[in-house]
Amino acid sequence: MLSRAADNLYWMARYLERAENMARLVDTTAQFLLDAGLSSDSRSSAGWLPILQVCDLDEDFQRSQKEQPDLGIPEFLVLDPQNSDSIRQCVALARENARMVRDQLSEEMWRELNRLHLFLQSSAAEDEWAFSPQDFCDRIIRFSLLFQGLVEATIAQQEGYSFIELGKHLERADKTTRILDIPTFHAHSLAVSPWPTVLRACSARSAYLSSRGASITMEHTIALLLFDHGFPRSVRFCLNEVNKALHRITGTASGSYENEAERLAGGTLANIDFNGPGDLSRIGIHCYADGLQKDINKIGQQIFETYVLLPAEVQQLPSPSYAIITDYQQQQQQQQQQQRALWP
C-alpha cells in the first residue's frame, strides 16, 4: 500500500489510543485525589503534576498557562487546543489522518470518528466536561472501545489493518510505562497507596484481583503491567503484538527479521523476557520505564524510516515533501483552487 496511507492509518490509531489513555488517566487521577484527601481543585493541586511529568508535558503546560492564566492541568489535558496531546486535539488529528484514507476505512469507522470529532469541537463538549468530567471521560473510553471493535469487525485484515494494530499497540505500550511511573513523582506525600489507581488507569484491576488476589502491592502491579503474557495492556503483550504486526507486513517468519524495525522490536521483546525482572530490581521502576520508552521511540522511528521515508536511494534526495510542508493553510487553498472552473 501507499506509504502515506500506511502512515495515516498508523497515526490515526496512535492518536486514538493516546486519547483513550488520557481519558483514563484524568478520570482515575481525579478519583485518587479525592481518596488521598488531596485537593482536586484543578488549579492549585500538585496532585495533577505527575501526569504532566510522565507525559513530558510540563513545558507545554507552562507555555499554555502563560497565555491562559486560569488554565488548570485537567483542562489542559482534555480540551486545550494548543496542546497537541489533549484529548480534543488527539481526536482531531486522528480524524484528519482518517479523512486522507477514507477509502481504507469502513463507513461505520468513519461515521463514529467523525461524530466524536464534531462533538469535541462543539461547546457541548465543554458543557459536559464542566458538568461531569467522569461522563466526559467515559464517552471517550467508550468511543475508543467501539472503534476498536469496528476495526476488528468491519475491515479486511490486510496490510492496512496491520498498521492500525502497530500504532495502537506501540502507543499503548508507551502509555503503560508512563502510567507505571506516576507513583515515582508523588511518592513521599501520599496517605494512600497509588497502585490501585495505576491498575484502574490501565483497566487492569479485575485482571489483577483474579490472578493475584485482593491485596494490591507494588511488585505485583508492576509485574502484571510490564511482564504479563496475556493481559492486553501489559508492555510485554503490546510489544509482542507490535512484533507480530511487523512480521505480518513483511511476511517474515517470527524469530528472524528483515528490517531494522523488526530487529528492534524482536530485541526489545527478548530483552524483556530474559532480563526484565533482573533489570527492574537492579535499577528500579523509574529507570526501567525510561529505558523502555526509549526503545519504543526507536521502534517508532524505524517504522517511519522503513515504511514512510523509504529506501536508501530516496534518502539521498531531499526529504519527502510532507516533511517540509509547513504552511498548511496555503496548501489547503491550493487544493481548493484546483479545477474549480470545471466543476459542474
Partner: protein, 483 residues
Amino acid sequence: MIFKDYETAEFFDEMFPRSGTNAVREHYGSVRRRFTSYSEEDFQKKQSAIDRAFVEHGVTFTVYSDDQGTERIFPFDPFPRVIPSEEWTLVEQGLIQRITALNLFLHDIYHEARIVADDVIPAYFVESAAHYRPELKGLDVPGDVYVHICGSDLIRDQNGCYVVLEDNLRCPSGVSYVLENREVMKRSFPELYQEMKVRPVSHYPRLLRETLRRVAPGGASEPVCVLLTPGVYNSAYFEHTFLAREMGVEIVEGQDLIVLNGFVYMRTTKGLEKVDVIYRRIDDDFIDPTVFRDDSMLGVPGLVDACRRGNVTLANALGTGVADDKVIYAFVPEMIRYYLAQEPLLDSVTTYLAYREKDMRFILGNLPELVVKAANESGGYGMLMGPTSTKEERTIFAEKIRENPRNYIAQPVVKFSQHPTLVDGKCEGRHVDLRPFVLYGDEPKVLPGGLTRVALTQGSLVVNSSQGGGSKDTWVLRHLKEG
C-alpha cells in the same frame, strides 16, 4: 396531477411540444403514464429517500464559505431526461467529430502550427491564451492523443438543435454524479427504468481504465495507473476517491510520487513502484514546481521532464486548456473544416470577439441583449448576463472589455431548452444543459448519457452547482419506439 397547468412558455420543452395539452413527445410516453399515477406524496417520499441515499453514500461536495467547510449534496431532480436513440446518434457523432478536430489542433499547435501558418487562426490568439504552454512545443504524447477525457457542455436552442456551449478539455468533473444518479434512479423507479430500455452507464470506470491503459508509454501491457488528486480539501475529492475505487487504482497526492532518473515512482510500504499513467486532477500550473508555479505544494518535481522523456503519460496531456479559451472556441468550426474537411455536425454559439474592432463596437452597442464572458473563465464565473444585468454592471463590464479586449467575447442569449422538474411536488419547466463524457484512448467513445444540469431557480439560465444548479439522470434509449 403533477402536470396540471404546466407551461412551456416560449422555450423548447424536452417533454411537451406545447402548453395546455397532455400530448408529450413520443419518447416521454412511459414517463407520463408512470408519473401521473404517482401522488404528490409518493413523489415527496421518493425524493426524501433519494436525498437520504446521497448523504449516506457520502456523495457530497465541500463548500468553503467559512473555515469549517460544510459538506453538501448536489441537489438531484428525480424527473429523468430522456434522449431517443436517433437523436443521441447525432450528438455522439458530433462530439466525436469535435474531439477529433480539437485533438488534431492541439497536436498541431505544439508542433508545426500549420493552422496558424495557413492563416486559419491568428497566431496571437493561440499564443495569448492563458493555458497555452510554449514549454511543451515538440513534446510527443502516446498515440498523439491529448484529450483523453472530455466533457463538453451542450444545450438545445429554441428549435431543439443541440449546440456546444463550451468544451472542457482539462479533465472535467461530474461523472461520479452520472453514475450515482443512475444507481439511485434504478432503485427509485425500477419498473419505469426497465420499460424504457435505457442504455447503461455503469461501465464508465472500466472504459476509463481501458483508456488509460491504452495510452501507457511504450505500449506496456499491464501499466500501473494512478489518480493524482490535489487532496482532501478539493471539492471533487469525493469523485476522485470514487473513480479510483471503481477503477481499482491507487489515489495519490503529489507527495506520494517521486521522480528518479526521469521515471515516476510511488512510495509504497514495499518500496518504490513505477507509475506509467497518471490520471491527474490537478491543473497544469500546479503539476510540477520546477517548470510551472514554483510555489505549488501539490505537484511532483520533475514530472514534466518524465513526460518529455516519454516515461509517463498524463491524462489529460499538458497544455490542453488552450482550447478551453473562449476565443479559440470560436474557431472550432474552422478547425473541423481545416483538419477533417467536414462540416460541423454540432452547432456552436455565434461568438463575437471583442479583439476585433467591428465586433467590439457591436458588443458595446448591444450589451443588454448579449452574454459577455471572460475568455478564460468557466463554471459560471466572470460572466455578464445582459438581459438581467443592471446599468452599473454593464458599465463595469464595458470598461473591462475596453481595457482587455483579448480577454472578452460575447454571445447572443440562447434560450436553451427546459425540462419538467419537480418543484414542491408539482412539475414546472426549468432550463437544462447536458455534459456528456467522451473518452479517447485509441478512438473516441461517448458514454451514452451524461450529466443533465438543471437551473433550479425559475427563469434562470445558470445551471452551475455553485450557483443553484442541480442534476438529473440522463436516459439514452436503445430504440425510438417507446410507449
